[in-house]
Amino acid sequence: MYDIRLENVTKEFDNFTAVDDITFTIPKSSVTVLLGPSGCGKTTLMRMIAGLETPTRGRIFFGEHDVTDVPTRRRNIGMVFQYPVIYRGTSVRKNLELPLLSEKLSKDELDKRVDEVAEILDLTSVLKRRVEELDNGTRQKIAVGREVARQPRIILFDEPITNIDLTSKMELKRSMKELFSRLKQTIVYVTHDQTEAMTLADQIALMQDGVITQSDSPKVIYENPNSQFAGWFLGNPGMNFVPSEFVSVAGTKITSPLFTQTIDLGSKATSVDILGVRAEGISVSISQVAGACAATVTRKSIGAGGQYLLDLTVGGLLVKARVSHSIGREAKDTVWTSIASENITFFDSSGKALSSEIKVK
């Protein structure tokens, strides 16, 4: 299998830079999710890997091969598009076989591959049907199956579940998770949906304004966002931010109306501007406890998992807290909140996280 190396890859459209000088390696035999809001350049980057767009500058390597000028047809990749692509006028089986025909496989091998993916994607019962008869969800499954059955070294997914209905979405996500765990290919998956990214990724490459701002496993990015953007974009709801007017820095010590403790950051304290805390990093209790601040509940909503999401006003600032079912149910107008120092991420005035360099005492 190949890794994919991008060297100073840039793509400019008329007067807009979609991808801005990215140097990055997508590791082989794993799932890398390019995650970011619309217009961040993730799809353009993927299309350049596929050869559907040519970089304005920079080189792209598959393993040791420079593929920058290799046409799509000769890149030996698979790609699943946002719009479910089916080849009309044929059966589902034929659709799965079509890209395999140029591989000159024996009939047995061909059938084996087709049956195998059909099984995983739950397409066995529709193999003989004509593709036009099927709904978008099934069509997209066929598209996924078609690319997987071919066993190219690299498979690209361009927001494959964006355009299909909710039930099929869940189903397809599940089958893809299953597929990805079996596949040995290098997989690149583009999405703007952080839940999808968290579920499917071995590593996430977070993109903003044409650059990759952070790349790591979902767990690491979630727990240690390196920027305010990463904290806000990953997580549902996004990270709570405490703006500088709620943060007092005195010497090496930091205090805030949102918590009672004083945090000693040593020499780094002076660069701290904004604090970040995740919704689940705020502890909430119904009755008054030592070291807690009083908070007013302004809104209460229950999540799909049974936990509650509370909108709280603490020390004049509105924050969101995720709490257990029992606490959420009992919460009245006033609750008591505390934030453990290790749950706080520190950002400088440019929005860059300082946490990696800071040890909380």
Binding site: T72, Q82, Y83, L98, R146
Partner: protein, 314 residues
């Protein structure tokens, strides 16, 4: 319980009211349609009905006689008329050769433009390409007549400059008909190019890209990606062109007047002569009715094929 009965009664009372509103709306839509319908009926439906009626009468404008009912005599005469049978078969050959040529050329040029969507001056080239189609057929016929003129024409200027004998294409028994086909092709190839571009444009971009990724060979690409999307628009263009070519009159009338002899006498030219030279309105109505049925038959065949395909796909 009492209350629900009341509400039920109330809702029953509401029904006619709602209906009244509905009928008002219907009147509004009919009212808005009325002017168009009026002109449509006046200009299109009535004359057609009139024509159907006339086809069964002997009626010549230049004679003093009143229209006389003759039953199917006009049709019988017309079907027995050898010259007209010749004109019909000539028209069929004209339609076939011209439309096939235009379609092939149109598709080739269309594909060329489609493949090169980044070529410089594409827009200008397309605009220029479409001019023949925009010019009035009479004008086109006239200037081709001048180009091909044996003594003054620019074609023969070049022919004689290079030392060849002057040729009089439009008076030549062998060349007149192919020349008409050529001019018609010149005029209508852009239309098929336009249709080809529209048809190719209806193929989703993702499917074309997927075909590149999946390394589909060209024949597969055409069969499973392009054709299923392109066939409707292309087929529609073909149908329009066939019906229109069947009615070709101005071209032949202006350039050759049907000659030499009857070499370029298309059915529409004959029809024009019957109606507006001999003023035999009954007879020419019968011919028109026949032509109308040919056009309807072609459309019906096309729609039938289209529906059969759709059904097969379902």
């Amino acid at each position: 319980m009492a209350k629900s009965v009341e509400t039920l009664e109330q809702s029953i009372k509401d029904v006619p009211k709602a209906k009244k509103l509905e009928s008002k709306k219907t009147w509004l839509s009919w009212g808005l349609l009325a002017p168009v319908l009026f002109f449509f009926i006046l200009m299109s439906v009535l004359p057609t009905v009139w024509m159907f009626g006339l086809a069964f009468y002997d009626y010549t404008l230049t004679s003093a006689q009143n229209p006389r009912f003759v039953g199917f005599d006009n049709f019988r005469d017309f079907l027995a008329n050898r010259a007209l049978a010749g004109a019909v078969s000539r028209t069929l050959i004209f339609v076939l050769s011209a439309v096939i040529l235009q379609t092939i050329l149109g598709i080739l040029i269309g594909v060329l433009f489609w493949k090169n969507d980044k070529m410089p001056g594409r827009r200008l080239a397309l605009t220029l390409l479409f001019t023949p189609m925009v010019v009035t057929p009479i004008a086109t016929s006239l200037f081709w007549k001048f180009i091909l003129d044996p003594t003054l024409g620019v074609l023969n200027f070049f022919v004689s400059t290079f030392g060849f004998d002057r040729i009089d294409t439009l008076s030549s028994t062998t060349l007149a008909f192919p020349t008409l086909v050529f001019v018609d092709t010149w005029m209508w190839t852009p239309f098929m190019t336009l249709m080809t571009l529209a048809a190719l444009g209806s193929v989703p971009k993702a499917e074309l890209e997927a075909a590149r990724v999946d390394r589909l060979p060209l024949t597969r690409l055409i069969r499973t990606v392009i054709w299923p999307h392109a066939k409707f628009i292309l087929g529609l263009g073909l149908l329009l062109r066939i019906i229109d070519a069947f009615k070709t009159m101005d071209l032949a009338y202006v350039m050759t007047g049907g000659g030499p002899g009857d070499r370029t006498e298309l059915i529409a030219v004959s029809l024009y002569r019957f109606a507006f030279k001999s003023f035999k309105l009954g007879y020419s109505s019968a011919v028109s009715v026949f032509l109308l049925f040919v056009a309807i038959a072609l459309t019906a065949i096309y729609l039938y094929v289209l529906n059969a395909r759709k059904k097969a796909e379902e």
